[in-house]
């Protein structure tokens, strides 16, 4: 739940007061302001983020004082980091029971972790495009037309910001749980997992294609995880588009139409190029939130291992005494969030460039 910061199109350099007009306290103000900002952001953001990678690679606090220890830690930590995701195959028949047990467990754990990564990506692949379509449609309706109930419609888009993720999960349990509104019915239907479509030949039925993986019910399946993820992420793209499209007005589209362009052609040739950066920005925020959602997903996942997404997997690894593995999976998500920030900066630059081009054209 976050109101995405709008793409800042204004020039980033605010002019600073000329020297002769600066108040004598200004230098003290600067000193206090800068040191506070640096300290606060270091404690609240940089250290916690760095700590994820420290733990993921098994670097102890002691090694920060002795370089030799650091080298040792990293040498041991890096292979362990990769073993979290893929445990190399070994011949287990010659191992003693405790070793064999450890090895088998590590393999099973790595498999579960990979499956969690797959689940997270799969959910994002379903949720983000759906929200993209919704964002475009909602922004188009809201910004290009005036209609009764428009304000209400816009406020409804903000609704998930007011809903705790846990409540979002609760809503779907209420709706589709066995004790919920749909009752037994919703727990009995079966649906095929799209990725399990495969050629099965004509032996079983006259349709040669079939699904090998069927899921039962809705709640506590990936279906519910996708629904809960949509619930918490659907405003992001619409929120990124609405302010921008509002400012752009409708003249250019109207001109395109008068020149004889069809509706879709107008949309792809005129509207889309204007909003592409904001669209990308909203999509990235939506993706980041979808990948990292914990509360809502944890309520509807039913704790089963195959339903784990990466954040759920982190909690489980943490509870299985596997601190390093928990932080290793967390480090992947941290990388995703850092990339989100980088992309945001790039997009802002591009958007600003596009904006100033337009200004020059206008002049």
């Amino acid at each position: 739940m976050s109101a995405p910061a709008p793409v800042v199109i204004a020039p980033t350099d605010a002019s600073v007061l000329p020297a002769h007009l600066r108040h004598p306290t200004a230098a003290i103000g600067k000193w206090i302001g800068v040191s506070f900002t640096v300290l606060f952001l270091t404690a609240m953001i940089i250290l916690p983020a760095a700590n994820i990678f420290r733990q993921a690679f098994g670097i102890s606090w002691e090694s920060l004082r002795s370089p030799s220890q650091l080298v040792e830690d990293v040498k041991a930590g890096v292979p362990r980091y990769f073993q979290v995701f893929r445990m190399p195959e070994q011949d287990s028949s010659t191992m003693a029971r405790p070793e064999r047990r450890k090895y088998q467990s590590a393999r099973a754990q790595a498999e579960k972790t990979r499956s969690a990564i797959g689940m997270t990506l799969g959910i994002a692949a379903i949720v983000v495009p759906l929200n993209l379509l919704f964002g475009l449609a909602a922004a188009w309706a809201v910004t290009k037309f005036r209609f009764r109930g428009r304000t209400l419609f816009v406020s409804l888009i903000d609704l998930p910001f007011a809903v705790s993720p846990v409540v979002a999960g609760l809503i779907f349990v209420l709706l589709m749980g066995r004790v919920g509104f749909c009752g037994d019915w919703a727990t009995k239907i079966s649906w095929p997992v799209p990725t399990s479509l495969e050629w099965q030949g004509f032996a079983q039925s006259w349709i040669p294609l079939g699904f090998s993986n069927w899921q039962r019910g809705i709640i506590f399946t990936p279906f519910a995880i996708a629904l809960a993820s949509i619930f918490v992420t659907f405003p992001f793209i619409a929120r990124a588009l609405i302010p921008l499209m509002q400012n752009q007005g409708t003249e250019q589209e109207q001109a395109a139409l008068t020149l004889g362009a069809g509706g879709w052609r107008m949309f792809f040739k005129v509207t889309l190029p204007q909003i592409k950066w904001a669209l990308l920005y909203g999509t990235i925020l939506c993706l980041a939130r979808c990948v990292g959602e914990f509360g809502a997903v944890s309520v509807v996942s039913g704790s089963t291992d195959p339903n784990d997404t990466m954040p759920l997997r982190i909690e489980k690894l943490w509870q299985e005494y596997n601190t390093q593995a928990a932080f290793s999976v967390a480090s992947l998500l941290a990388v995703v969030s850092v990339m989100t920030l980088l992309l945001k900066i790039v997009i802002e630059k591009r958007a600003a460039a596009q904006f100033s081009d337009k200004k020059q054209e206008a002049q």
Binding site: G180, I218, Y321
Partner: protein, 359 residues
């Protein structure tokens, strides 16, 4: 044309809903409580190999772990579990009440459908710096005790009742001895009055005990992590198996186990979720799975994971890790889970009252 489309739609929908039953189902979901992750991971691998050797088909086994009550509730809400292996009978009874498990499940398998037993012990830091030797030490003002929340965790309820039983002066017996076990079972069947429930000394003791609890995690595993990983607390009250696992995971140089003078016999039961297996077509493999838990191979795995096997050979083999402790059963002291749940852990029950006065 329109009719064709409708036929197509109808057949598509029925294909969606029936499709699953066309396949022989060997995908099994075992919904279990918190500390059994490692146990069932090992059991599942062994069972899958055994089943494949016998039936030629490798079953796909899936696990789900969490606080016992939470897990039961998920099954009631629609988690399509084939078998439930929970911490206590009350949670399976709740699923039975929801109409998913047929009555009489507890008689379907040997030993009241619990393939192993366990008990409640203490885990302390190495060298026992606070000198904890028994229950009485837990209410000393400078001791911090870690236990999960009985509202959400099955293990925590066993902890609570073990403490209550001790404080009420219940003697306990050596239940490894079959004559004494029989006597305990008989006492449980015959008992009609349970004065322990209203024992004032027990109430005072448990109230004091919970005053010493700084963290109530939602599950047994969460508590172990708090105690072992976050270094909070002096004593962890927990399952015997969970205590040994912590020793194995963190090393014997970090913690040691203290056996209390008397504790409770915990019998975590297992059951087939009849409604689910019947509609999924997994009854055969589910039954095979639960029966397999009583085989010598499974009992050996159970013992190796520090649970107390029912099989005497396996129990003997792992006896070094499972010393005799004087135990009492929930039936003889509290009149079974139905009564205990209502008196102690229901809304406004003893546990809620304790936390009202604690504030």
């Amino acid at each position: 044309m329109k009719k064709n489309i409708r036929t197509l739609l109808v057949s598509a929908v029925s294909a969606l809903t029936l499709g699953s039953s066309l396949f022989a189902q060997t995908k099994l979901l075992n919904v279990s409580y918190d500390p059994t992750r490692e146990l069932y991971e090992e059991i599942n691998q062994a069972f899958a190999a055994d089943y494949q050797a016998k039936h030629g088909q490798k079953p796909e086994l899936q696990q789900s772990h969490g606080g016992s009550s939470k897990q039961a509730r998920s099954v009631i809400d629609g988690l399509s579990a084939d078998v439930v292996t929970l911490a206590l009978g009350a949670d399976i009874t709740a699923i039975e009440k929801a109409g998913l498990i047929d009555a009489g499940w507890q008689a379907e398998l040997p030993f009241n459908s619990s393939p192993y037993t366990s008990t409640i012990v203490f885990l302390v830091r190495k060298g026992n710096p606070k000198g904890v030797s028994g229950w009485a030490d837990l209410i000393k003002p400078d001791i911090k005790v870690i236990t999960p929340n009985p509202k959400t965790s099955g293990g925590a309820r066993w902890n609570f009742l073990a403490a209550w039983g001790y404080a009420a002066g219940v003697a306990g017996r050596d239940l490894g001895d079959s004559a004494q076990l029989e006597a305990a079972v008989k006492a449980g069947k015959d008992a009609t009055a349970f004065p322990v429930e209203t024992n004032a000394a027990a109430r005072e003791f448990v109230t004091k005990l919970f005053k010493n609890v700084p963290v109530l995690d939602t599950g047994a595993r969460g508590s172990t992590v708090t105690f072992a990983q976050k270094n909070v607390g002096d004593v962890l009250i927990t399952w015997e198996n969970e205590a040994y696992l912590a020793l194995a995971e963190y090393g014997k140089d970090k913690f040691e186990i203290v056996n209390p003078s008397v504790s409770i016999l915990a019998e975590p039961p297992v059951a087939i979720v009849d409604k689910n297996v019947d509609s999924k077509g997994t009854r055969a493999v589910a039954e095979a799975y639960l029966k397999w838990l009583y085989t010598p191979e499974a009992q050996d795995i159970i013992g190796a994971n520090y649970y107390r096997p029912r099989d005497t050979a396996a129990l003997k083999k792992h006896a070094g890790n499972l010393p005799p402790i004087k135990l009492f059963t929930i039936d003889e002291v509290f009149g079974g889970w139905g009564r205990a749940q209502g008196a102690f852990f229901s809304e406004g029950g003893v546990f809620d009252q304790i936390y009202k006065t604690n504030q």
